[in-house]
């Protein structure tokens, strides 16, 4: 009985010394401290010993700077690898080198392209890949893949925009050659938009590694709710600010406390129409916060509803231009 009590007290003291104590623990410990005058001394002794052992461990010094030099030479400083390989070629006989070069050439020719190609010509398309990955291809975009995924990576190529729901397979990374960028995932859901010069990724679920096309060392890892943009080989990441980035896929537009001005600007972009606020609109009206959502409606019903909420009215002028003015 006494022994069990000691075990419990030891645990409580340890918790206290680690800052893990709860008010209940403190109550029991106080009780124990008061129970016998020696107990306070026992506690203090423990605290001292504990610190000594800790100090002993932490007192061992390691030369981090020297170690970094060693490790850096094998990691971050290894970039000029191709150059190194050329030098090493010199050490082999020229004949061997020639065979190697021919071999490399043959290998490159033998690498197959993609056996399947899908072009979403007339509208969005749903594509299911051999690994059960679901892709929604935005109208006008192109996706290429192989009928069966062979090898370590599941490779596909994208031009345009698509939403990916990648089937999880940690043994076989899913890699997208996205023109200017390269995206690597294990199993997640995200939107990817790309052209030859730029790319944008917005992550809905899981983790995505997003890198510049050829430069394997420039990359960001994004998680749920984050997005990144690649332009001119520069990567910039941020939180997803636009809740409607999937409008093209879902047809849903929703605003939560968004300024009228920003709402109008985005609608203009989504519907590819010129929509503007009248110069007569007071500043605070243009900045009022709007919360509203739409599912599949056309532009004009949307404008009508927004005007109802924002106490204004819209009219269509010449050249399909929309103008919003105070009521």
């Amino acid at each position: 009985m006494m022994n069990e009590m000691n075990v419990q007290i030891d645990e409580l003291i340890a918790k206290k010394l680690c800052g893990e104590n709860t008010p209940e623990d403190d109550a029991v410990l106080q009780e124990w401290l008061k129970a016998a005058p020696d107990n306070r001394q026992i506690y203090d002794k423990h605290a001292k010993q504990w610190m000594e052992v800790e100090a002993l461990i932490k007192g061992v010094e390691f030369d981090t700077a020297a170690a970094w030099e060693k490790v850096a030479a094998k990691t971050v400083d290894v970039k000029a690898q191709p150059a190194r390989r050329i030098i090493s070629l010199k050490s082999i006989s020229w004949a061997a080198a020639a065979i190697l070069v021919v071999g490399v050439l043959l290998y490159r020719v033998a690498v197959p392209g993609y056996s399947e190609e899908v072009f979403a010509e007339n509208g969005n398309m749903e594509v299911v890949l051999p690994d059960d990955t679901h892709v929604t291809l935005h109208k006008g975009s192109k996706l290429a893949y192989n009928k069966t995924f062979i090898g370590k990576e599941r490779k596909v190529s994208l031009e345009g925009e698509a939403f990916f729901k990648v089937h999880r397979d940690e043994q076989h990374p899913f890699v997208i050659d996205a023109q200017a960028a390269r995206v690597q995932v294990l199993g997640t859901a995200f939107d990817l938009k790309c052209n030859e010069h730029a790319a944008t990724v917005a992550v809905v679920e899981g983790r995505v590694k997003f890198s510049a096309g050829d430069d394997k060392n420039t990359f960001v890892v994004l998680t749920k709710g984050q997005q990144a943009q690649l332009t001119n080989d520069k990567l910039v990441s941020s939180a997803i600010e636009d809740e409607n980035f999937l409008y093209w896929k879902t047809g849903i537009i929703s605003y939560h406390e968004r300024e009228l001005q920003a709402v109008v600007a985005q609608l203009s972009e989504i519907f590819e129409k010129d929509i503007s606020l009248a110069g007569t609109m007071p500043v605070d009206q243009a900045h009022q916060l709007i919360t509203v959502s739409f599912d599949g409606q056309g532009l004009e019903p949307i404008l009508s509803e927004i005007c109802l909420v924002a106490r204004c009215r819209w009219e269509k002028g010449p050249g399909d231009k929309y103008n919003i003015s105070p009521r």
Binding site: V7, Q8, D10, E11, L12, I13, A14, K15, L17, C18, E20, K45, H46, Q49, W50, E52, V53, E54, L56, I57, K58, G59, V60, E61, F62, T64, A67, W68, K70, V71, A72, K74, T75, V76, Q184, R207, K209, N217, T218, F219, V220, V221, L235, V236, S237, S238, A239
Partner: protein, 185 residues
């Protein structure tokens, strides 16, 4: 919200922050400073080569601790299969692979002291103690890393406390006795 840190910067920061502690952790398994450093450097190089995407993950510290631990265990296993060590006076344990190289004779005084103090703890208990005291993990985080309950962590920490007490008492008695012999030397 442009938080752009290159992977090189993240890697270097992690290294500078965690290297020494990782070595201390490895030292508790291997009891040799050079071996500990080699093991930790190896883990860092592998991290760069194989899991660079982990660098921006909030779990990187735990990943590192676990990797160092696994690396040390595999080194000890290898040593054992080569018949390098037979720890006769090592603490009793059913997880032999966690028992460090106590037989090594050319330890520095400091290495010896640490090996002695930590060597008093059973392997899992030692690991828990170091995760909390050296790496600053909370009980809950340590429990998650080792896939045990928080209560188990509490047991181990209480046990560590008790063992250190008994050990330091023993050392204190020896030191006390030694002081009588001093004039003789």
């Amino acid at each position: 919200m442009h938080h752009e840190k290159t992977i090189e910067v993240l890697y270097k920061e992690l290294f500078e922050k965690e290297y020494a502690n990782a070595c201390r952790f490895a030292l508790s398994f291997l009891t040799d400073m050079h071996m500990a450093e080699d093991a930790v450097q190896d883990v860092f190089i592998k991290l760069w080569e194989q899991k660079p995407e982990m660098l921006s993950s909030p779990g990187i510290k735990y990943y590192l601790i676990t990797s160092v631990r696994n690396k040390c265990i595999s080194i000890l296993r290898e040593q054992k299969s080569k018949g390098v060590f037979y720890p006769e006076n090592a603490p009793e344990s059913n997880e032999e692979h966690l028992t460090p190289l106590y037989h090594k004779e050319n330890l520095s005084l400091q290495e010896r002291k640490i090996a002695d103090a930590l060597g008093q703890l059973p392997p899992v208990c030692r690991e828990v103690f170091l995760m909390v005291k050296l790496h600053g993990l909370s009980y809950k985080q340590a429990a998650e890393q080792l896939e045990v309950s928080v209560k188990t962590i509490e047991n181990h920490m209480g046990k560590a406390l008790r063992i250190f007490r008994d050990y330091t008492q023993k050392v204190a008695v020896v030191t006390y006795l030694m002081s009588f012999f001093k004039p003789v030397f």
